[in-house]
Symmetry: C2
Amino acid sequence: MVKIAVLGYGTIGSGVVEVLKKNKDIIARRAGEEIAVKYILDLRDFPGDPYENLVVHDYEVIRNDEEVAVVVEAMGGVEPAFAFAKGAILAGKHFATSNKALIAKHGAELIALAQERSLNCLFGASVGGGIPIIRPLNSCLTADVIEEISGILNGTTNYMMTKMSDEGSEFDDVLKDAQQKGFAEADPTADIEGHDACRKIAILTSLICGQQVDFEDIHTEGITGITAADIRYAKAMGRRIKLLASSYKMGDRYCALVAPCLLDESSPLYGVNGVFNAIFVRGNMLGDAMFYGSGAGKLPTASAVVADVVDIVRHKHVSITMEWNPEKVELEDYRRLTNRYFVRTSAEPAEVEAAFGEVSYVTAEGVSGETAFLTDEMDGYAYETAAGKLGSVLQSIRVK
Amino acid sequence: MVKIAVLGYGTIGSGVVEVLKKNKDIIARRAGEEIAVKYILDLRDFPGDPYENLVVHDYEVIRNDEEVAVVVEAMGGVEPAFAFAKGAILAGKHFATSNKALIAKHGAELIALAQERSLNCLFGASVGGGIPIIRPLNSCLTADVIEEISGILNGTTNYMMTKMSDEGSEFDDVLKDAQQKGFAEADPTADIEGHDACRKIAILTSLICGQQVDFEDIHTEGITGITAADIRYAKAMGRRIKLLASSYKMGDRYCALVAPCLLDESSPLYGVNGVFNAIFVRGNMLGDAMFYGSGAGKLPTASAVVADVVDIVRHKHVSITMEWNPEKVELEDYRRLTNRYFVRTSAEPAEVEAAFGEVSYVTAEGVSGETAFLTDEMDGYAYETAAGKLGSVLQSIRVK
């Protein structure tokens, strides 16, 4: 029997305990032995909870108990999660987490620390919740140079974009609805400004290039500027607006960014709606693949965490190979990416053509008093130069 | 450096050699050492081929060479592939294959043989070509009871169904086109009768239940009976016809079948068109997930085979855990599955209602002189009883 400790008894932590209880037998069969929760660390008490006796308030109890072989972190945030993770690994314990903030910041360091001790630090649930993507990248797509990885990595914003598209509503109304339904937090900044997606694409990019990518280096735009009028234009073009987090290989480097994009039906990401997430991968041999599923939520995320624990139990004395060198990699300037742009401006067509040359004009029902158009393919520098000549730009969205 | 032998220098075998050459450096980095092809087994010679010197005609040369650590089989068919696989493993070599016929028939036996010797028998490319599904099932979805797995597992038939739908053409014309384009073989039986998809769902079902599922036990219908008129009805209903290979958990058993199904837009498989494959998985904790990509083709399939070789190099002295017990499992009778049926008959509505009770009638442009309808949800026994009362059934397709 393997004893584990769960840090944090919130949504994910209680989900982990529930998955281990509900699927106990099949998990034991697949892991090769039973997995039992010995401690739950939380600041709170949970009187009446069936596991209330397992709750401890002092991490030292867990760290010092040699019987605990695996520490599962489900608290979120960088500290004290990082101190707890380090403490666990230094005490000879395996570590599993769903915490993307922790892994984006300290993943390489924790992996190295674990590997030096033939331990494992796994984080399958940190990107895409229940969607298996970390391990497939790490152990299935190993024969390929990854040329692109683009994901809808944040369920809150995808729910909001889908609702704006379905109902024609404005951003603020949809945000309120998402908050009421529990799909957005009281402080929604991390989601709607793209910070959450940014950390996730930083993790994915680190794994595909094998080196540390700092999330601070990734150009990040959120969805707060998207209006009902933009959605109308998108519909008129047969497109949908999605918040995409992407990395593209350019020469020897990767170029990463998070930004709203206009997708058409030919993209496999076009049909990914509501709270679902999906990750599109293009390999130089594999071609196109996509992974789709519930990107968040208690049980899907907990399922991925428990799958990591099963993998740890199967690899108790050996580190699973993972390529994530702590040496920081320089990203290519995102302005070097080329794509078409959708632009709305109060400038007249003559001014637009003076700045951009030939463009395709777009009209949308119920939007007037402005000029909207699609540019040709151009890089970010050329776009900025042309847009600078326009005077007023009301909106600009990349077209993928 | 790890030396491997490739059996069969056809499409997949030459693809494996090409992937290893093209992505040599990144593969070496990920595997931890260089992977080199020492032999290629084929009955033919390949004068002028850059690897002509590696070609041997006698398998014994490979089997007896202790330097060969991994045998990659890309010949297809059960024999002599099985004899070669067994020979390799008994000689202490790891084995990787893309051969679904071999694995559906002898997978459990080969895995057991390999595990007894701390070797690996991997077959990631046998289902879904380049789509990572075997390993995710085996190592990512381990915390879940899998309640359903449904796949579009055959690119040839999916190409044909997509083309019939796009162009309104008849089956025979689309088959000829697929043969001309190289998407269908001269003898297309294995694809269009569903035998290929049947072997693949047998492998997936074996993996999710952990025991041997005999493909002969799986009820299998092909697409040869689908007509342009059926496609018109499907369109009138906002649906598409796909050849689905599925397994559903019913109590303690699984129920598997291969059959054309009518899907609507709410299914993530609805948008999977052309030669693409996709596998939908529903876990009791994970919820819904889908894996999508190129299901066949030289390089995508070879990429998956090489990824298996990389995993073998990472696990040279230990067997990767895989749950596939040779003990045969009994499948549930597929007639116990409940679904709606789409039925075309020359019977009059009064007869239809006498047999099926209340139904929803369907009409399609350009089809007349018959009655078409959708039943309520019913199991296969109830359907057969009701259909028996009708006298003439022109067509019947499951609705999912």
